[in-house]
Amino acid sequence: MKYASQAVAKPYFLAAMGLFVAQILFGLIMGLQYVWGDFLFPQIPFNTARMVHTNLLIVWLLFGFMGAAHYLIPEEAQRELYSVKLAKITFWVFLIAGALTIVGYLAMPYARLAEVTGNSLWPTMGREFLEMPTITKIGIVVVILAFIFNIGITVLAGRKTVVNVILITGLVGLAVMFLFSFYNPSNLVLDKFFWWWVVHLWVEGVWELIMASLLAYVLIKTTGVDREVVDKWLYLIVAMALITGILGTGHHYFWIGTPNYWQWVGSIFSALEPIPFFLMTIFAFNMVNKRRRDHPNKAAVLWAMGTAVMAFLGAGVWGFLHTLAPINYYTHGTQLTAAHGHMAFYGAYAMIVLTIISYAWPHLRGHGEANDQRSQVLEMWSFWLMTVGMVFITLFLTGAGILQIWMQRIDGTETFMVIQDKLAVFYWLREGAGTVFIIGLLLYIVAMFIAKKPAEAEAS
């Protein structure tokens, strides 16, 4: 670790991991509620568990991105972070605001939370993934602004690399797009139209810039390939992401009451959205093939390559399966959608955060470039358990989805709840896969904590 201020990434990463575990616990709760409807009712009803699960996902990923930025920007910009103190304050404000919000979800009926937090003054609550009170949203804006200010000044005053410029562009984009969560039109069509400006333009837009730049950073560090080569790949990947993703937003405008032509625009542009993920896969494998050194952190290299592949499969392939309007007409809002959502989020964003933590953690713990053999092996076990677990979650939900689509929309003779009962086997299997997943996650955390310096481990 070249710059002392990089150490401020550690609390961010710890928070990310803690919140990730909580997210999965609530995922498992819901998985069980799918087949045992009264589980934890009325203390944690399904809709509450869902809010907690999805909101925690976003928050832990944000902690991960912020930690990643605090770690790599001083190194890329070749100077210390502008203010370590600000980074620490930002951390605590975000963590406390986030914790209070989750407590709010769990401790009282949602309507009461809205009342208590003054939602009526500026109503922004009640929308999927954006359920947090308006004051929390304002808190998030303040936190992100402080964060961008901090890393922004660091980069402006230091070396500008393609990696840190793309990362900052992505993060600024994230901030700007989040502002649309404050815009809540009363017209339902417009409401949904602009909701996607946060959600789609995040995960199929600016977040891809963040992912690509973090992937590029880890590949530069672990393979030693010429930065210029990596830079070119990064430009191409980012260009393709934006070209396909911006008008690709149209694939969410098929059935919400917008004009028909969105079926054309959305289908064509979003059909090409797998391209940047395909490029990232070729990029990762190509860089590792052409590597100039065998980096001792084998686990991080595994995570990097795995991220590219799973992102391509989950976001690219599974996304493509239901992106064309004539197909989406039948698949919209089914378990197939959930299958894609899970593998895409895990493959692209959860994994890139796990990758950067895997890379940075040995440095942050003062172990040098890599941890000892034993903890790396444990980490690789965690990679495989989580990844295979997620693949099976996705496969089971895909199976459930296809049957649901057939029975509910094509054959059309059964009703929703009758069909859900028939799908119970898939849901049980999914819960099993989810259990494998959390075991993998816990192993990752154990690996982080038992990690030693390689020399120490040999000596002991």
Partner: protein
């Protein structure tokens, strides 16, 4: 120099070529989509085609082809050291690009003015969308030509390192190639 030696890589940056093919891919999906939509609604498309002005389309074709020729000629001129000749060709090429934009802008504006828009029917949507999408690429391409002209004038390509010039030129040719399909497909084939 061996008689049969071929270049290992195309002229210009490979990353720009990848980008060019990506753009061609997007346009291709619209072209093929147009052809199949026409197959499903032949009367609608025939009627829609009658509302277009193929003579204006030909005028624009002449502008783009001439502009493309001048850009290619400018690259040649730069290579043989005739910097001011290259600059002149690039400037005229840019002006021809702007002429295209003027004619196209008038055409699309007129189309809206007589009452057609994006949701009149599939033909009019595709005509307006493909036309506008291509229009934006001509704008971008013209911008690239301006940058190339400035750099040629500054002598940035005088040392024989023409990669950037060739890349920008290749982008402009892509914009031309798209029009080579768009024009007959939408205006002429009947």
């Amino acid at each position: 120099m061996l008689v049969s030696s071929k270049l290992k890589y195309p002229r210009g940056d490979l990353a720009v070529w990848a980008f060019i093919y990506a753009e061609l891919l997007v346009f291709s999906l619209f072209f093929v989509g147009y052809a199949f939509a026409r197959m499903l609604h032949p009367a609608e498309f025939a009627a829609g085609q009658q509302t277009l002005n193929p003579v204006l389309g030909l005028v624009n074709t002449v502008f783009l082809l001439t502009s493309g020729w001048l850009v290619a000629a400018a690259v040649l001129a730069c290579e043989s050291g005739s910097r001011s000749l290259a600059l002149k060709k690039l400037v005229v090429a840019t002006l021809l690009g702007l002429a295209f934009l003027a004619v196209k802008g008038y055409e699309i504006g007129h189309h809206f003015a007589v009452g057609y828009d994006l949701d009149t029917n599939t033909f009019h949507f595709l005509y307006l969308f493909m036309g506008s999408f291509h229009f934006m690429h001509v704008v971008l391409g013209a911008g690239v030509l301006v940058i190339l002209a400035v750099k040629v004038n500054r002598g940035d390509y005088s040392n024989g390192e023409l990669r950037g010039l060739e890349s920008g030129a290749a982008y402009w040719h892509m914009v031309d190639i798209v029009w080579m399909i768009l024009f007959p497909l939408v205006y002429l084939m009947r």
